[in-house]
Every structure is written in structure tokens, then in C-alpha cells.
């Protein structure tokens, strides 16, 4: 059975990472790329086989070996294949494979190609490892490795200072989430005594209610960090300084999905705690709204997509929160396809124009129709226009929400999905629509960059066909309820947004500048453009932490060390006082004895003339003395 060999998926990727890093300079630039692509192709084929066999048989597989022993407990390491993980494996390896092919051309002129492909391979390997892991500890290890890769790849162009600060921010912010998650894992371990998913699920019910809630919230904290939910979303826009394939692979299609994957993994636990799920739902929907709202006014071609990513992952988390697990995963699949597609397309645009600001772009429609049409499919899917994949997953989420019966959530969801088409068609129109004043770049991209985009467009376009079979295959069933009216209504809302965007940005029938003159809109615009100033306040906080650290180090130098030095100085003073006492008193006695001996010996030394004659003189004197003494004492 092919599932037994699932552990092989990350292995070639790690090996390629090792080769690329160790043989860095000795490796030819091209060879490194082909090696990595070959490895990821292998993982892709294996993952596809596993996916197909899982889809056909619906079976699970769990293999494990003893890892290490901790006190009484034996910790095992293993891999778990079930529909959720096989779907994730497919998504990860598919997107990786396409992005690797794309990168072959995109990174052609870069001198550090071996490093790039090595780190990318490490990322893909860790991500597949994360998906395969059968316990929390192993998952956390890969979880952090994924974070490390994200750090390394955002900072890939090391001489840029934005790269430095962006990568730092990404790592530290996700680290906060990771720490929360680690706390959760450890809390769970101390109660249950195992890291394994299955053991945990079996005995989680024995914990007290409060402990359950705390543990689940801590785990959700990990997901918040990795999946860029409020309030830890600030790192994603800054992460866009990395190379575009990296943005496509890590910050849109795979890594940020890890949080959603984690939540889907612990879904058996979540369903027992309504408090936690509702918290998750509110976090998700607020993030979705925030992302969509912030995406409305951005200018950077990749930042819009970044905020859009935040927004859509918010949808997924929200879906988890309303227990629409399969809806969430279906949206995850769709989003991976269309968001990777959009990023790769943005990469093409950036290479060809050399610009990042979409207000200075235009006329892209003219350069070959393949990329614009593929991008259009991606945008339509993102916007949730029927009958594309995005529409289906959105409808599934809506159905799940309706089952929960919370109308606040429903209305918020509809509001968020109203904003999606507006920002994405603003993006599309400003780049692709005809505009005489703007120039198109003079470079053109080769087939290696176009092919992945077309492939992704195909997937995004056809994904919707599988929605019902997907629903059945997933372990959680989601009943299509009788909410047809609501479904039609929400679709109409989305279409309204779509029309509005077309009217404003493509046909330019509504003048956007006139709207901006309104004070209310101006304020809204400002807030949107600055993403509610969350990032700025964090930066200020960071500066405070830094100035605190400077203060602390000064404190250490001045006071802690100062106390010691003061003791030292005091000791010196005492010692100098006591030294004088010592010199005169104690030392005086000792020295006095020594000096007197020295003096007398210097006298005695004078006797030692070396002349036998003188010695005889002393013998004489001695004899005389003895005789005198005898005389006196003898009477």
C-alpha cells in the first residue's frame, strides 16, 4: 500500500536542502534548481498517489516508531494519513511543485540560487512533515522549522533592510503564537502523558472544563500566529519583501494554512467546547473583515494579495469556528489554488514592469492573453462568483454558519464577502485594463513562468466540480440545508460588489476621487490604508521593549555591576585603611622582626670577610669571652 511509504515524502527534500547548503558554491546554479524540482516532483507524485488511494478507499494509515523516553513516558514519532492530511499533502506538494518550476525561471539570474532552492526545499519538506506528523510534538517541530524557512526566505535578499526587518517581524510574531501553542501542548502532556493525536483525543474528555478551554485557546493561539489572524496578522504584509515565489508558496498557499490545518486536526476536541469555537469564529470573521477592509486601499501589488490572504484565512478559521470543517478545508484548497495563481501572476507582472505600485500600472491585457485570462479565473474564484470553486466553498461556509444560527456572524460574513470582489477587481483592473497613459514593461516571461499559472487556473476553475464528493469524503459531514434563499442572497451581494468594482475601476463610470472628498470616506480610507494602525502601535511597543532593554543593560552595567563594584570600592577603601593598619601594626611587627634580623645579619655579614685570619680573630674574641664568663661565674 502506498500509504506506508508516506514518510518518504519529505526525505528527498531534506536531502536536497543538505546538498544545496553544504555544497553551496560548488554546485552549479542550474543543477541546484533541477535537484530541488526533482525532489519536489517525487513528493508530488507520491502525495498524489496517496491522495488518490485515500479518495478511493477512504482508509487511514498510522505508522510510528519509538522516538525517545522521557521519564515514565515513551514518546513515539510517526505519521498519520487520513483524508485531512492527504488533502493537505496534495495541496502542499502540488503548489510547491508548481512554484519550484516557476522559480527556475524567476530566480534565474540570482547568484544565491542554491541557497534559495535549498531553503525552499527545506520549507516544502517541513510543511509535508507537519502535515504527516501524528503527534503534537513532531508537528510543533516542523511547525517551527516552517517558521524558520519563512524567516530565511523573507530575508533572502539580505542586503535589503526591509528584508531584515520583515523577516524578523515574521519570526517573532509567529513565535508568540508558537509559544502559546507550545504551552498548550505541554499543558496537555502534563495531564494526558502523551503527545499523540489519538491518545489525546481519547483522554481529553477527562480533563476539567476550564483546563480544556485553556488548552484549546492556547493551541488556537498557535494557529493565530501562524495563520496571521488578528491580532498577530501584522507580519504578512511585511513578509512580501521576499521573492514572489516565496510569497506565493509560503505566505499564501501553504504555511499560513498550517493554523487552519491544526484547527482541523483538533476538531474532535473543538466540538466539545462551544465557548472556544465561538471565540474562534469571532476571531476569524473579524480577521476576514479586517483583511478585506485593509486590502481596499493598498497600493503595493503584493500587499493587496497579502491582506486578501489574511481575509481568506479568516474565512477558513471562521468556518472552523462554526464547525464547518469540511467547508474550511475546501476553501483552503480553493484558496491555495487561486492565491498561488494570483501571486505568481503578480510575479510575472513585477518581472515585466519592474514596479510594485499598481496605480502606476496598466495595459497588461495587451501582452499575450494567457496570463490575464488565467488571472481573471483566479480573481473570479476569489471573489466568489459562481460557478467557480470559491463560490462553492463560500456557500458551504455560509451553510455551516446558518446551522449555528448566529445571525450576527452571518451578516458579518456576508459583509466580508461583499468586500472581496471590490478589492480584487480593483487590483485586476488597475493592472490589466487598457489605459493609454501607462506603459507596459518590455521584458517578457518564458513558458516556465506561464505554465504553472495556467495549471493553477485550471485547478481553480475546475475545483468547484468536486464539491459534493469532497464533502462526502471528509470525515465530517455537512448537510446542505434549506437555506437556498440566503445562498441566493449572498451570491447577489457578491455580484453587487463585483459590479461596483467593475463600474468604478474598469469602466470608470463612478469617479473614485469624488467619493474620497467625503470626510467620512477619507477617514475610512486612512484607516484602511494603514490597516487600522495596528502595525504602527506594535512598532511603538517594540521600540518601547527595545528602549527597555537598553535601560536594562544600562541598569545591569550601572547598578547590578555597580553594586558589586561599590562593594569592591568599599572593600578597597577598607583594605587601604586596614592596609595602613596592617603596614604599621601587624606587618610592622613582622617586618620589624625581619628588619632586625636583616640588620643584625648585615652586621654579621661584615664578619664574614672570607679571611681565615679574621675568623681566627673571632675565635680569639670568643675564647676571651668564654674565659671572662667562666671567671665571673666561677668566682
Amino acid at each position: 500500500m502506498v500509504m506506508e511509504y508516506a514518510w518518504l515524502i519529505p526525505v528527498p527534500l531534506f536531502i536536497v536542502f543538505g546538498i544545496n547548503i553544504l555544497l553551496n558554491k560548488r554546485l552549479k546554479n542550474r543543477t541546484s534548481g533541477y535537484l530541488a524540482t526533482g525532489a519536489v516532483a517525487f513528493s508530488f507524485i507520491l502525495s498524489t498517489l496517496i491522495f488518490i488511494s485515500s479518495l478511493l478507499t477512504g482508509s487511514k494509515f498510522h505508522g510510528s516508531v519509538t522516538w525517545f523516553q522521557l521519564g515514565e513516558h515513551v514518546i513515539k514519532a510517526g505519521y498519520l494519513i487520513d483524508p485531512v492530511s492527504s488533502l493537505m499533502l496534495l495541496v502542499v506538494s502540488l503548489v510547491s511543485f508548481l512554484v519550484f518550476i516557476y522559480s527556475l525561471e524567476f530566480m534565474e539570474d540570482d547568484r544565491s540560487k542554491p541557497r534559495f532552492f535549498g531553503e525552499l526545499a527545506l520549507f516544502s519538506g517541513s510543511m509535508t512533515g507537519l502535515v504527516l506528523a501524528d503527534n503534537f510534538l513532531l508537528m510543533f517541530i516542523f511547525w517551527e522549522l516552517v517558521g524558520l524557512c519563512s524567516y530565511l526566505l523573507i530575508g533572502f535578499w539580505m542586503e535589503k533592510s526591509e528584508a531584515a526587518s520583515g523577516s524578523k517581524k515574521a519570526f517573532l510574531i509567529t513565535r508568540i503564537g508558537d509559544i502559546l501553542m507550545l504551552s498548550g501542548i505541554m499543558l496537555m502532556f502534563t495531564q494526558i502523558g502523551s503527545f499523540g493525536f489519538e491518545e489525546t483525543f481519547n483522554s481529553f474528555g477527562q480533563l476539567s472544563g476550564d483546563l480544556q478551554t485553556i488548552t484549546l485557546l492556547l493551541l488556537f493561539g498557535g494557529a493565530v500566529g501562524k495563520s496571521a489572524q488578528l491580532p498577530l496578522q501584522v507580519w504578512i504584509p511585511d513578509a512580501m519583501v521576499g521573492p514572489t515565489p516565496v510569497s506565493a508558496l509560503i505566505h499564501a498557499a501553504t504555511m499560513v494554512k498550517a493554523g487552519v490545518y491544526l484547527l482541523a486536526r483538533i476538531s474532535p476536541l473543538l466540538s466539545s467546547s462551544p465557548l472556544v469555537t465561538s471565540i474562534i469564529a469571532y476571531f476569524g470573521i473579524l480577521t476576514a473583515l479586517f483583511g478585506a477592509y485593509s486590502a481596499l486601499t493598498q497600493k503595493d501589488i503584493k500587499e493587496i494579495l497579502a491582506y486578501s490572504t489574511i481575509s481568506h484565512i479568516g474565512f477558513m478559521v471562521f468556518a472552523i469556528g462554526v464547525m464547518g470543517y469540511s467547508a474550511s478545508l475546501f476553501h483552503l484548497f480553493n484558496h491555495s489554488a487561486f492565491k498561488a495563481l494570483l501571486f505568481l501572476a503578480a510575479g510575472v507582472v513585477i518581472t515585466e514592469t519592474g514596479k510594485h505600485d499598481i496605480t502606476k500600472m496598466g495595459n497588461f491585457w495587451k501582452r499575450g492573453k494567457l496570463v490575464p485570462i488565467a488571472t481573471l479565473i483566479g480573481c473570479l474564484s476569489l471573489a466568489g462568483i459562481p460557478p467557480l470553486g470559491g463560490w462553492f466553498s463560500k456557500e458551504m461556509i455560509l451553510t455551516a454558519t446558518m446551522q449555528g444560527g448566529n445571525y450576527i456572524l452571518v451578516s458579518l460574513f456576508i459583509l466580508a464577502s461583499f468586500l472581496s470582489p471590490i478589492y480584487i477587481f480593483r487590483w485586476y483592473s488597475l493592472i490589466f485594463s487598457t489605459n493609454r497613459r501607462k506603459k507596459v514593461g518590455d521584458k517578457s516571461s518564458g513558458y516556465l513562468m506561464v505554465l504553472p499559472i495556467v495549471a493553477l487556473a485550471t485547478i481553480a476553475g475546475l475545483a468547484g466540480l468536486f464539491n459534493s464528493s469532497f464533502n462526502e469524503w471528509m470525515p465530517w459531514s455537512l448537510h446542505h440545508g434549506s437555506h437556498a434563499i440566503l445562498a441566493i442572497g449572498s451570491t447577489l451581494v457578491v455580484l453587487t460588489g463585483f459590479t461596483l468594482a467593475i463600474l468604478i475601476y474598469h469602466l470608470k463610470l463612478i469617479d473614485i476621487n469624488r467619493i474620497k472628498e467625503n470626510t467620512l470616506f477619507e477617514i475610512l480610507h486612512k484607516f484602511s490604508f494603514n490597516a487600522l494602525y495596528i502595525d504602527d502601535s506594535y512598532t511603538k511597543l517594540g521600540f518601547k521593549a527595545f528602549s527597555f532593554s537598553i535601560l536594562a543593560s544600562k541598569f545591569d552595567d550601572k547598578y547590578v555591576d555597580g553594586v558589586i563594584n561599590a562593594f569592591g570600592a568599599f572593600g578597597r577603601k577598607v583594605s587601604s585603611k586596614s592596609k595602613s593598619f596592617d603596614d604599621i601594626g601587624i606587618d610592622g611587627v613582622v617586618n620589624g622582626v625581619a628588619d632586625s634580623i636583616k640588620f643584625s645579619s648585615s652586621l654579621a655579614r661584615k664578619i664574614q670577610t672570607g679571611l681565615v685570619r679574621d675568623y681566627s680573630l673571632w675565635i680569639l674574641i670568643g675564647t676571651i669571652t668564654i674565659l671572662i664568663i667562666l671567671k665571673i661565674s666561677g668566682g
Partner: protein, 484 residues
């Protein structure tokens, strides 16, 4: 062949003399002599490990020679899980330190290498001796070579740093001595044997144990070091030569941890029981404080030195939790920190030689200048901040799991300190490796040095991926001492 342990001490000791004699004829030959002697010690240690039964937590391969019978002291050597790991670390890091000195130490070679071997002998002696008198003798012996290594081969303020180091650590060991004497005086049997006294001290009243523990605490708190007894460490590290820093951070700090477990935990459990909350607070303060101070450092080396302080705080935290996990994790952390800090200090020394400065603000663009060193620096930093799959993570995980069952709030605080740790490492990386370079590096051939670092890198990864390699030694020991 039951003299393995005494041979482990004697070979570096005699080897040091031989190396000195060799140095009188040929200065260049000293390093070869020192290297071969340290490798022979390593081989002997491996031989010892084959004789060592990992299933038993007790002292093994015990050697006994009569010595100061009049006061009940004798030469008693033994090895258990704790000392085996620490002796292994000592031997490995000595080899690394010799590798790091290979080209850098240019003056007075003929006295440098013997001092290094004397240091090794002293450290092995500390970890192997089971009698307080010889333990204390070895404990003090280690100060002497370290003092000279800092004072002769150190940086600009080496005299200040070496004297501060010496006075500080010497004073603290006096407190330890007072405690040892107190134990001796209160024991009904006239003996200095640690195994015998361990059983006797258990019966002491908690108040008495606490009094004794205060002396022991000062002894290890300075050595480890724990805030606020840490200020000697950055000075000593900044001024010490690279191999000196490697030995200082890698092994000398572990003596504190060793005493904490061997004397503090094993002999005075009721005292630790009483002092547990205070110890926890102290260690958490240490972690946070060291983290924030490290963030504010300008000098790369003192940043790493402060990170050592933070890492050793985790050891105290683990042991103070008094659980199997906490103590096992503490020991794991000692080994892991030994490897990581040795790596970081070595890299730091090489960077300083390469680009001529250690100031973080001047180091930007390092990646362009020295890609290999940068790679190792990044690796070391991530190992330092506890990246999973590297050894530091397993240690921290185990410590925190152990602590969770004792305290919950404290542990969460301690875990939060990991964010501080991560932030100062990452922020250091941001300022050093990224950006445009304004440096002009010399082309230095680092083959020997990097080769000597490879074992460290491999071990950090192996201990992170397959922890049983170490836990096999640690677990039986910890189980034994916690079952008392």
C-alpha cells in the same frame, strides 16, 4: 582495568606536563601534543562508556584509595549518568578549544596548552570525585588555568576581568566550602564521602538543610550564574580568548549546575522544597533579565554571554521544579547549552578575526562577507533560541513539562521568556547578517576551526532529533534520585 576513572583525570594532568616539556624543545609541537592527549582522553572516555551500564543510575566503576584517613577523607571516584554526560562534554569541548586555539594563540604556546589540559583534568576531576575534599580541590584547581588563560591571552581589559572572575568565583566557592564543612560537622560519621553523606543529610532537619543550602546556593549561583550574581560573566567572556570562552561557557558554568544537582538537590531535598518558589522566581527573573540585557548589548560576545545567563536560568528552573522531567531537562539543557554556547563563542571569535570588530552595529552585511560563518552563526542563534529539531528545544520542552506539574503560572511566565530570547537573537541577526556591508574582511582560512566545530553542529542536531542518546544516560540517574 578498573582504574579507568583515575586515568581519565591523570592522562590530561600528566599530558599537560608532557606537553610543557615538549614545548621546551619545540613550541609548534605543543598543540599536536595537546590535541593527541585530549583525543586519547576522549578514546579512554569512550572505553569507559562501554564499561558503563546505562541501566543503573548509581555510581559505577568506583575507585577507592586511602588518603587523609585522619579526617575521614579518601580518594573516591565514581561515574553516573550526570557525570558521564558532563565529562563527555568537557572532553569534547577541550578538543574544540584546542582546535579554536590552533592558529589564534600565538604567544606562550608552551604554557597555554598545558593550562588547557590542566583545566580539562580539573573539570573531569570535579565531575568524577565522590569525596568532598578532592572535589573541592579540583573545584579550585579549575580556577587557576582559567584565570591565567583570561589574564594572559585575553583582550584589553583582561586583568580587570580575570581578577573579577577569580575573586568572584573563589569567594563563592568559599561559601560552598562552609556548607561542606557544616555537613561534615553535623554528620555522625566522620567522612567526606558524598554517597555516604547524601544518605546522612536526608535526615537533617529542614532548617539545618536550609542553612546549609544557602551556602551551596551562593556557590552555584555565582558559578552558573544567576542574576544578580552574574556580572563577572560578561566581563570574563568579553575579555577571554575564544577557547577560554568556549571552556568557560561550555563547561565551567556547568559546575554550578552540577553542584546544584549533586549537592543541592540530592543532599538537601527538604531545603529545595522550602526554597522552591524563591528559586523559581529567581530563575524566571534571570531568564527575563538576561534576555532584556542581552537585547541591549552592543558587543556580540557579551550578547552571547548574557544568553548563557538566561539559558542557565532554565537549568535552575528545571531542577527547582523537583520533578523527573525538570531535572532531566535541566541536565539536558546543560549539555545542550555547552554545545551551543561553544559554537556561538567560536563563531564570534572567528568573525572578530575576520572583520576586525564585534560591535553589532558595525557588523551589518556579514552574509555577503563571510557566508560560511554567517551560516553557522544563524544556525547557532536558532539553536540558542530553542528551535525545535535542535538540542535546546528538547531541553526547554522537558524542563517546562516538568515545571508545569509543579507550577503553572510560573511556567507560563518562563515560557514567555522564550519570546524575549528569540527576539534578541533575531534582532541581533537582523543587525549583523543583513544589510549592505561596510566591512572589509580578511581572507582567513578557517578550515581547522570549522572542522572542529562540525562535531558540535552534528551533536546539536542529533540531540535535537534523537534525544534518547542522552536521555539513556540521564533518565536512570534522575529516576534514582527522584525516587528517594
Amino acid at each position: 582495568m578498573n582504574q579507568l576513572l583515575s586515568l581519565l583525570i591523570l592522562i590530561p594532568l600528566v599530558g599537560g606536563v608532557i606537553t610543557y616539556l615538549v614545548g621546551r624543545f619545540n613550541k609548534e609541537a605543543t598543540k599536536y601534543s595537546a590535541l593527541s592527549i585530549s583525543i586519547i582522553t576522549g578514546i579512554l572516555f569512550l572505553l569507559t562508556l562501554t564499561k558503563f551500564n546505562i541501566k543503573i543510575g548509581k555510581y559505577q566503576l568506583v575507585e577507592e584509595y586511602s588518603w587523609l584517613n585522619s579526617i575521614g577523607s579518601q580518594i573516591l571516584l565514581g561515574i553516573d549518568g550526570l557525570s558521564a554526560t558532563l565529562v563527555g562534554l568537557t572532553i569534547l569541548l577541550t578538543i574544540v578549544a584546542i582546535g579554536m586555539s590552533w592558529k589564534k594563540i600565538k604567544k606562550k604556546k608552551k604554557s597555554y596548552y598545558p593550562l588547557l589540559l590542566l583545566l580539562e583534568a580539573g573539570l573531569i576531576g570535579v565531575f568524577l570525585s565522590l569525596d568532598f575534599i578532592i572535589f573541592f580541590i579540583f573545584w579550585e584547581i579549575t580556577l587557576i588555568p582559567m584565570f591565567f588563560i583570561i589574564a594572559i591571552w585575553g583582550g584589553e581589559r583582561r586583568l580587570y576581568a580575570s581578577i573579577k572572575f577569580f575573586i568572584y568565583t573563589h569567594l563563592s566557592s568559599l561559601f560552598l566550602l562552609i556548607s561542606i564543612i557544616a555537613i561534615y560537622l553535623h554528620s555522625p560519621i566522620q567522612t567526606f564521602s558524598i554517597p555516604v553523606l547524601t544518605e546522612i543529610t536526608q535526615t537533617f532537619s529542614p532548617q539545618l538543610q536550609l542553612m546549609i543550602f544557602i551556602g551551596v546556593f551562593i556557590g552555584f549561583a555565582v558559578k552558573m550564574p544567576i542574576v544578580p550574581f552574574h556580572t563577572w560573566l560578561p566581563d570574563a567572556h568579553v575579555e577571554a580568548p575564544t577557547p577560554g570562552s568556549v571552556m568557560l561557557a561550555g563547561v565551567l558554568l556547568k559546575m554550578g549546575g552540577y553542584v546544584l544537582i549533586r549537592v543541592g538537590y540530592m543532599m538537601l531535598p527538604s531545603a529545595i522544597d522550602l526554597a522552591m518558589p524563591i528559586l523559581a522566581i529567581i530563575s524566571i527573573v534571570t531568564m527575563f533579565y538576561a534576555g532584556f540585557v542581552a537585547m541591549g548589548q552592543e558587543d556580540l560576545k557579551s550578547l552571547i554571554a548574557y544568553s548563557s545567563v538566561g539559558h542557565m536560568g532554565i537549568v535552575l528552573f528545571g531542577v527547582a521544579s523537583m520533578t523527573v522531567y525538570g531535572i532531566a531537562g535541566g541536565i539536558y539543557q546543560m549539555i545542550s547549552h555547552g554545545l551551543i554556547s561553544a559554537l556561538l563563542f567560536s563563531i564570534c571569535g572567528m568573525i572578530k578575526k575576520d572583520v576586525g570588530t564585534r560591535k553589532i552595529s558595525k557588523l551589518s552585511g556579514l552574509a555577503k562577507e563571510t557566508p560560511t560563518l554567517t551560516g553557522i552563526l544563524v544556525f547557532g542563534s536558532f539553536a540558542g533560541l530553542g528551535l525545535p529539531s535542535l538540542s535546546g528545544f528538547i531541553a526547554e520542552l522537558t524542563v517546562f513539562i516538568g515545571a508545569f506539574s509543579t507550577w503553572e503560572i510560573y511556567t507560563i511566565l518562563a515560557i514567555i521568556s522564550l519570546i524575549v530570547t528569540a527576539s534578541y537573537f533575531i534582532w541581533m541577526l537582523q543587525r549583523t547578517i543583513f544589510g549592505e556591508s561596510q566591512l572589509n574582511s580578511k581572507e582567513i582560512n578557517w578550515k581547522i576551526e570549522i572542522t572542529s566545530l562540525i562535531p558540535l553542529i552534528i551533536l546539536i542536531i542529533i540531540f535535537g532529533v534523537y534525544p534518547d542518546l542522552l536521555f539513556d544516560y540521564i533518565n536512570p540517574f534522575v529516576k534514582l534520585i527522584t525516587s528517594i
